[in-house]
């Protein structure tokens, strides 16, 4: 019942924002789209230059392209779902605006971080999906309904990881004043997301622990989609990192809220 209420709340927030965006003059919508899609093609161009010169052991060219388009879907969905919430929360913590938000009778994280997303990010994510499907068809890569379902679920889990990681950094604003860069903490590492995690299997254990949780965010769902054999160490690091980051970020947010004293935080 509670979950249903939350879902209704989320749908109303996001559809309101989408409605607002779509009611803008067409020239502004097009400009917004260009501003979002230019990054899409920056990744495509740089990626094509890289895969033309470098090979990634265990990953064919077609699989690498599936990885890239999954990365595009993942990052644009992250922008669509969280970007506005992350930025506004940092500002609200430091201006005292969080007072009005946390006193409402609904889950404080839900109301703080989920504030709607731009239609340009949603369209860019859909564009990534179209490219993904056309690449699957072009190379006739075998996927099943089951693998598509698991892919979707693990991509959502990876979005939760990104949310938790940023939540942890945003919580620092309660103690250290305005740290604007914390709102993009995870997205600063997005270059890692578009490469397979298993290329680091020969790296030192410290590098593996630092890098694999980020490289697996997209490559793990893609491995499941394409029925690729899973690396056990990568799987263990991915799941452990997810559990640890969720627990620590939730704790940091709660401690931060306790420390919060309106604009004087």
């Amino acid at each position: 019942m509670l979950m249903l209420r939350m879902l209704k709340f989320l749908i109303s927030i996001y559809s309101a924002r989408l409605g607002r965006d779509l009611s803008l003059p067409p020239s502004q919508v097009i400009l917004q789209l260009i501003g979002a899609i230019c990054f899409f093609y920056l990744h495509v161009i740089s990626f094509s230059l890289i895969v033309s010169r470098f090979s990634f052991p265990g990953w064919s060219i077609s699989q690498m392209w599936i990885l890239l388009y999954s990365f595009e879907i993942y990052t644009y969905m992250a922008f669509f779902l969280f970007w506005r919430g992350f930025n506004h929360t940092v500002r609200d913590i430091n201006s005292g605006g969080l007072d009005q938000i946390i006193c409402k009778p609904i889950n404080n994280q839900l109301i703080t971080f989920f504030r709607g997303g731009g239609v340009h990010n949603l369209i860019s994510g859909i564009l990534g999906l179209i490219y993904l499907i056309s690449t699957l068809m072009k190379y006739q890569l075998p996927v099943s309904w089951w693998s598509v379902l698991i892919y979707g679920l693990t991509l959502l889990t990876s979005l939760w990881f990104l949310y938790s990681f940023t939540l942890l950094f945003i919580s620092l604003n309660f103690c250290f004043g305005k740290l604007t860069a914390t709102s993009s903490a995870a997205l600063q590492l997005q270059e890692f997301f578009k490469y397979p995690g298993d290329i680091f299997s020969s790296a030192s254990i410290i590098l593996m622990l630092l890098v694999i949780p980020f490289t697996s965010l997209v490559s793990f769902p893609v491995s499941l989609l394409l029925h690729k054999p899973l690396s056990i160490p990568v799987l263990i690091i991915y799941i452990s990192a997810l559990i640890i980051i969720t627990a620590v970020s939730q704790l940091a947010w709660r401690l931060g809220l306790r420390h919060y004293s309106s604009a004087s935080s």
């Binding site: 979002a36 920056l42 740089s46 270059e191």
Partner: protein
């Protein structure tokens, strides 16, 4: 000139107070380069060896924050918040005010990065003859990057959704400036065209000079673009201020 020196000194003291901000800016421009380098050092290539890539990424990531300018973002902020009114009332030039602020920020960044740059020059065995030209190019790069960013930023006087224009500028300068990938990855015909545009001289130029040397033609092309862009900026700024006063922001 005295008032701009004062602005320069004031901003200098502000940046020495918020040292964490300087560090955050360094991370912001160097992290994507560092990540690409880490990834490529674990990938296999038959055509490109990883040793020159390592020195390229180190030198460019250390020098790029010293010339990269995001003044378009600041211009957007002061326009949309109405702070630009100060320049209609006070005897200050918007361009020079922002330039003085930006220069002081870069000097603090240089103080922060100088030991690291020296260490990189020493450990990578950079030829001493390149060092002078690298620092000269750094100064031209900073002016060019600032002017171009300012010129693009003036668009916010006309466009509501200005962030989209900023994104396009960012993507183009990062890609064509050799920041996303070294020029070794680009096709040779594309490189010949890029050489005559302002993009190679905006951000990664000094790092490339330290890594692989310089050409006199590069300095001529960069200076040519600097004159063109500064002239365009002066022309457009007048129209932008007129536009602002007509609409009231």
């Amino acid at each position: 000139m005295k008032k701009y020196r004062l602005i320069f000194l004031l901003t200098l003291s502000q940046f020495t107070t918020y040292r964490l901000q300087v560090f955050a800016q360094f991370l912001n421009s160097s992290l994507p380069l560092a990540i690409t380098w880490v990834v490529l050092s674990f990938a296999a290539s038959a055509s490109i060896s990883s040793a020159p890539l390592i020195s390229y990424y180190i030198l460019v990531s250390l020098t790029a924050p010293l010339s990269f300018s995001a003044v378009d973002e600041e211009l957007e902020e002061i326009t949309f918040t109405g702070q630009v009114n100060n320049f209609l009332l006070q005897p200050l030039s918007l361009f020079r005010w922002l330039l003085a602020k930006s220069l002081s920020e870069k000097i603090i960044s240089l103080l922060f990065l100088f030991p690291l740059i020296l260490l990189a020059i020493w450990s990578l065995g950079v030829l001493p003859g390149r060092i002078f030209f690298a620092f000269l190019s750094l100064f031209i790069s900073f002016l060019l990057s600032f002017s171009l960013s300012f010129l693009v930023g003036l668009g916010c006087f006309w466009i509501d959704e200005f962030w989209a224009v900023r994104n396009v500028k960012y993507v183009v300068t990062q890609l064509l400036g050799g920041l996303v990938l070294p020029y070794a990855f680009f096709p040779s015909t594309a490189l010949k065209i890029i050489h005559f545009t302002p993009f190679p001289y905006l951000i990664g130029w000094a790092g490339r000079i330290l890594n692989s040397g310089y050409l006199l033609s590069e300095f001529i092309i960069a200076s040519f673009w600097l004159i063109i862009i500064v002239s365009l900026t002066r022309l457009l700024l007048r129209q932008a201020i007129n536009k602002y006063s007509f609409t009231g922001g």
